[in-house]
Symmetry: C7
Subunit: 80 residues, 7 copies
């Protein structure tokens, strides 16, 4: 499927979150909450810092936060 | 069961996800969600990046995402 | 209970899955699903690759998959 | 998206909690409780020490604590 | 409570499962299932291999298995 | 906020439980139980030993224990 | 609070279970079960071996076991 030299070019120790820096993402958390905001920091544990955040409720209006740090262990998925 | 020389050829530190790169897979997540998309990145924690993703609901229409990163700890199974 | 010389011959760092390679097994997963298929790969995290897989539902017909990778952390038991 | 020299300036081994020291934060815990207080200590496991703490109940009045140590494994998110 | 020389003779890196090898034990698993069988293998993760196994249901007849590997992370207790 | 030389004086590998030694604390456990007692030992896993302990029930009278060791993995928070 | 020389005498890598060896303890497990028995072995993962064990049910008579090994990951607390 891969062609040529690149020996396992994708198998990094960590998938690349760099492309999502400063991008508005939606983070689904294990505790059922969802957050939409700009990804401004991450680390190897997938701890994430979002800024200008809307917490998207199941129903009703979104709560707003200046900054939310979501613990890596609480991250289920990040979507764009 | 094995014949001849191959000394534990299968017992790698990580099962081989390379064959699934750029293949459309279905990922079942611990949080009950299911995603169908093209696997474009993975790492040793089994963090997965899918592109051109459909989130398959229990019922109703599928939500679409350009890209979804599913945390390794949230992956239950990957099927083809 | 053991007699003679064998100094802890069974206490390996990993129980031996090699004997189950290419054997049809039933895997019970933490998420409640059960899979029957041929074990074709495994690793030290007990990530398992089954081929020619039936997903055994609580009721109704079995779903079929060409290949299923079950995350080690989602494995409860493997039976023969 | 990044321009120029900064090679992965954000990918630290740990996102930076230093900016939140002595700031009043809201911590959402896995066990469903929420705490508002001044962050006075943290460590690499994201164990957090809050002082002058209000435990925010789903309903009814807030309980007050002089100091609460929240185990890292129990932290879901920190918001400002 | 201990008398004399034995400096912490019990504090091993792993409690001794060796005495239970080839003994019929009952394993209670986290997923609520219980298995009675002969312990034939174990490892440092407490992955267990039972042979000649009865899966003891809450009610109704016991299912029988030739061999069951129970993942260490799914083991709650082993009793004799 | 910190003054002078101390570079990241708070970011220890472990938040400081030493100040709470011999102090009466309330420990909230993951399993929903709460304990009030004097903290007499702790370790890097946040395993805690309380002495002269009251187990605080949701309702009804408190059970008393001479000593309770609470596993670090079962600790949600410690409050004063 | 501490007086004199003892520099962090309590902060061991593991709280001391040695004092509880051969003592009758009650172990509360994550899976909701409780066991009363004599602690005869433990290790760094807090795997525990109890002998002469009563499994204390929510209601009804206690089940008896000659020996129970409780997996460290299933231990919530140990009380005396």
């Amino acid at each position: 499927m891969e062609k040529g030299a690149p020996a396992e070019p994708e198998k990094e120790t960590q998938v690349d979150l760099g492309k999502l820096l400063n991008v508005t993402v939606v983070v689904s958390a294990k505790d059922g909450r969802r957050f939409r905001g700009k990804l401004t920091q991450y680390d190897a544990h997938m701890n994430l810092v979002l800024e200008e955040v809307e917490e998207l409720p199941q129903e009703g209006p979104a709560a707003k936060h200046k900054l939310v740090l979501i613990k890596g262990g609480n991250v289920s998925s990040i979507s764009v």
